[in-house]
Symmetry: C2
Subunit: 379 residues, 2 copies
């Protein structure tokens, strides 16, 4: 379905081919001064062209405490872009329409126009919020993402999904707005709490299962280097994940053909775990996805799609090495099923899953029945 051929370039750049909305992801190690020239080059390929002179850097207090926004501001200053920094509280509740509204206020004060750059500097919450504001101010401002968590680097910063939460539904207010570029500095991961790193690794493992068995095997080899946060190992896995995500997004930019749904492996059950355990509960997103991937592999076994053991055993071992949970048997299975019945992939009342046919190959299906689901949730 896709070419999954690796196209590493010496300069650690991944191209996201989206026609007029194409952009680059650059992976560097401790190079804040490089950001300005990268931004200028990426902006030149957008409608903003060479005329961008102002920017709003959206970030959170954790990132601000590390002094990172000032280095990005200085780098933009070097290329003639005057940037204002907006610092928001860290945490999921920041991703609200109220904060979007506050950022609109800042942009009106700045007299921003369609040539004003928005920089999303932080994890997924900041990226989604900054991206939503970029998507909806003056019908679209240029956006550059600087993800600072592994999860955001390999997942949310790439692909154009932006949005905020509604009190009654997560991520329900949003848009597709592709960035003009994504700047990934592995140095930012040195400050990341271990649990956050592990959560990112759950999504990294997912890419291996859905599209790249060789990458999965490679992860098994370099797991310790990754946990020690060696730049080379981190850069390699980030690059490969971004390449895979870019291929999937290029094939189904707006989630219309169903192809992009393959990124949802582990997420049907993962999202249900988050909903039932509570979004500020014991399972972070990556942890819920880790449990979900294992349960969904077991579901594939029950459907006869993969042999018992084998894929599931390798997955469990790798997740355990990464310090991730692989079961959540304490949760009420009835409530989990109920949460799954609201999954946005569902059609005609059937719960749909993305399940492996083999390591590196998944398919969307609605052929799992409730008894099978209940069995794997209790395993």
């Amino acid at each position: 379905m896709f070419s999954t051929e690796t196209t590493h370039e010496v300069d650690h750049t991944v191209a996201v081919p989206l026609g007029p909305r194409s952009y680059n992801i650059r992976v560097v190690a401790n190079d804040p001064a490089g950001f300005g020239p990268f931004a200028r080059a990426e902006l030149a390929r957008t409608w903003a062209g060479a005329s961008c002179r102002s920017a709003l850097i959206v970030t959170d207090m954790h990132i601000a405490d590390l002094g990172i926004p000032a280095t990005i501001q200085a780098s933009l200053g070097d290329i003639g872009i005057a940037a204002l920094i907006a610092v928001l509280p860290a945490g999921e509740s920041t991703k609200s329409l109220e904060n979007a509204s506050r950022l609109y206020d800042e942009l009106v004060k700045l007299q921003a126009d369609r040539h004003t750059l928005i920089v999303g500097l932080g994890g997924g919450v900041i990226g989604d919020l900054a991206g939503f504001v970029a998507a909806t101010y003056a019908r679209g401002l240029p956006l550059i993402m600087i993800p600072t968590t592994l999860l955001a680097q390999v997942d949310s910063s790439v692909g154009g999904k932006v949005g905020v939460n509604h009190p009654g539904a997560k991520n329900i207010i949003g848009a597709f707005h592709q960035p003009a570029g994504v700047w990934i500095d592995t140095q930012y991961l040195s400050n990341l709490p271990t649990r956050e790193l592990r959560c990112g690794l759950a999504e990294v493992v997912k890419y291996g299962v859905i599209l790249d068995a060789e990458f999965f095997a490679n992860l098994e080899q370099i797991a310790e280097d990754v946990l020690r946060r060696e730049h080379g190992a981190l850069a390699r896995i980030i690059m490969r994940c971004c390449e895979i995500k870019a291929l999937v997004v290029a094939a189904d930019e707006r989630e219309e053909t169903g192809l992009r749904a393959m990124l949802n492996f582990g997420h049907t059950i993962g999202h249900a775990i988050e909903a039932v355990a509570g979004y500020d509960g014991p399972y972070k997103h990556g942890e819920a996805v880790a449990v979900g991937m294992v349960a969904e592999c077991r579901l594939a076994e029950r459907l006869g799609w993969i042999k018992k053991g084998d894929v599931t055993d390798r997955l469990v071992r790798l997740l355990e090495r990464f310090g991730l949970p692989t079961r959540a048997t304490e949760l009420d299975t009835g409530r989990l099923i109920e949460a799954m019945s609201r999954d946005k992939k569902n059609r005609n009342g059937a719960i749909r899953f993305v399940l492996p046919r083999a390591l590196g190959k998944v398919e969307l299906t609605d052929s799992a029945d409730v008894d099978d689901i209940l069995t794997v949730l209790s395993a």
Copy 2:
């Protein structure tokens, strides 16, 4: 630059050619029952396909008092779509982020998903707000516009510009979101206050000046029929305006090449008049545009682009027959210039205008100097 050939079809349909986002505009006379089948056919060509079963009709109190939403709801019921009606106050202040938020609440309560249809039933305020909600809920819901004012029928309902106002800047929060279809019933115009009809006619005249001299001449012939609201005359001018707008939008969907700017003829000065006189002041949008078109024609005369008299005289006569103002000499010219200096078309500090080279042909220019502008504002 464009083919302006008329392609009237017997069934009064205008196709808006936007590749995968193509849609139809249907012009009818008193046919509420026809809406359901039209909606079903238009939805079938979108990602929502045949599976749309629920809808939210967004409308205002004026329209609700006329009993129109119930007829649309019944027509959707006939094709198996259960529609809820959200009635908002009439008026510009309805176009706010707060009202968007209220509509999100309704959608969450409805358990809306990407197969839920949004219907914008009203004038420009309702269309822009409903469209913004459709653009940003679940990253895009299918949208059908039912414009009920002449202005919305010939302008805001076609072209995909949606949005809400910020207290500090009109229309600044928005997106591009093409509708799945536009349903225009000339019957709705029978209830339109005369002043609203006249405001719509200002935009109608604009289409003649920017792209179609023959249409302008035709307007001169049928002006009285239009003012008497004869269905045939109304349908003819609505069709032609939609055809012209469709051509311009197809050529520059997201306002990136500058082509779409031609729709801004009369608007550089028109927007300044609204800003200086106040948005709830003596000039409605169409009236400000009428004055703006005359002043901008005089500016083209001063630049030597068109001969003195001629185009301007015909324009003034036609606008007067339509009961529209052609001068606003009581406004402070300094403040008008200041407002124009914030126009979003501007680049590098120069005020840019779309000015006629002849009747039916306009060009974007920054070569008008402030003395010329001051002179035409006082004429």
